[in-house]
């Protein structure tokens, strides 16, 4: 299965399972030869930002007295950035989260933080796969009905997360273009 098809299949799957919404298509459309790594860059920034925020939320909710305003402010940030990248599921969990903040329910917040964590890491895993495929030649514009480069392979047959093993063997990692200068974490450290 070509990288292009793998990528298209992965992205299509993410849309189908409600992980992504049409805002992600907006990102795909903004990528072009003058900004060939745009989607990778935004996705990378989102993943770093999300991880940072979840860490802050965990700290804030760990305190005996919770500052719900601060918690809400962080959730608002995460909701905003997930909306910007089209991370539908994470965004919706953030909306629920904010309601618990407004109710000042520590229990509700803690439970929802867990859900956010799960959803975020699920998404991050798929984004990670996406970037790996992209780095070996897939076009991140695939998966969009109008933008996809070729016929989509049998998307239903295999778990997209199996792709990386094939992909990583076939090519090296050209990480330079995808990473913001501020973040030097090598891609390999994402593979938890």
């Amino acid at each position: 299965m070509s990288a292009a098809n793998q990528l298209a299949a992965l992205i299509a799957n993410m849309f189908a399972t409600g992980l992504l919404d049409d805002q992600f298509q907006q990102l795909q459309m903004l990528q072009d030869p003058s900004a060939p790594n745009f989607v990778s860059e935004v996705v990378t920034l989102f993943c770093h930002d999300g991880e940072r925020i979840i860490g802050e939320l965990a700290k804030l909710l760990d305190k005996p007295t919770v500052d719900f305003d601060r918690v809400d402010a962080f959730v608002h940030q995460l909701k905003g950035s997930s909306a910007s990248v089209g991370a539908l599921k994470v965004k919706n969990t953030c909306i629920q989260f904010r309601e618990f903040c407004q109710q000042k329910s520590k229990d509700g917040c803690l439970k929802t933080l867990e859900t956010v964590r799960i959803n975020f890491y699920e998404l991050r895993g798929k984004f990670q796969t996406m970037l790996q495929i992209f780095q070996v030649g897939g076009d991140v514009r695939g998966g969009h009905p109008q933008l996809a480069m070729g016929p989509v392979g049998d998307a239903g047959a295999s778990d997209p997360r199996l792709f990386p093993q094939e992909v990583i063997q076939s090519g090296g990692i050209d990480g330079a273009a995808c990473w913001d200068d501020a973040y030097s974490t090598p891609l390999s450290e994402w593979r938890n």
Binding site: Q26, L30, D32, D49, G80, S84
Partner: protein
């Protein structure tokens, strides 16, 4: 008579504390042929615009520095410290900046918030996430502001022969390229930051 370098793209200053959002707005603006500077806070925006928080004094610059004229400011509403609304107010309080069109962005659709911003002088309010189709709304505000500015300059020139009150002297002294420089400077007759640092954080 100097030829106006009219192909210079319009320059937008984008303000947002969220890194992914800054990346997005930068790309949206560049795709729409704007020159972009991004900053992550209202205070940095004011710094870039040559305004200090504590006073409304302006810094006059030499004519050649007018390349960093800002034609529009687009800012997020919810930011720590200085909100987009606070920034808007400061801009409108400044005699040199008040004519620069300001657009507010927010992820929350709160009518009272939107109205408050528009009443304070914001030209437009975008709901986030901002889309490519929103970009086409920006140029009309820039052009409207330029027309207004140009008209005001014409008025001033008619009233006083050589010196306009608000123009900084360096531009006035150069004769033939004077009007072309002013057209390029559009919104800001006097203040613009000395430093031309493109910030893409």
């Amino acid at each position: 008579m100097a030829v106006v370098a009219s192909e210079t793209p319009f320059h937008v200053l984008a303000v947002d504390d969220s890194l992914p959002d800054r990346k997005l707005i930068e790309r949206l603006l560049k795709t729409s042929s704007f020159q972009v500077t991004t900053v992550d806070s209202g205070s940095k925006a004011l710094q870039f615009l040559g305004i200090h928080d504590d006073d409304a004094s302006t810094v006059s610059v030499h004519a050649h520095q007018l390349d960093v004229a800002v034609n529009l400011i687009i800012t997020d509403y919810c930011m720590p410290g200085m909100t987009g609304y606070d920034l808007l107010k400061k801009i409108k309080e400044s005699s040199s900046l008040r004519d620069i069109p300001v657009v507010i962005m927010s992820s929350e659709n709160i009518p009272s918030r939107i109205n408050r911003c528009l009443e304070e002088g914001a030209d437009e309010f975008f709901l986030k996430p901002v889309r490519l189709s929103d970009m086409s709304k920006l140029k009309p505000h820039i052009l409207k502001s330029r027309c207004r500015e140009h008209y005001q300059q014409e008025q001033q020139h008619q009233q006083s022969d050589s010196n306009s009150n608000d123009c900084s002297s360096p531009t006035n002294k150069s004769s033939s390229s004077d009007s072309s420089r002013k057209r390029k400077a559009e919104d800001n007759e006097e203040i613009l930051p000395q430093k031309n640092r493109p910030r893409h954080s």
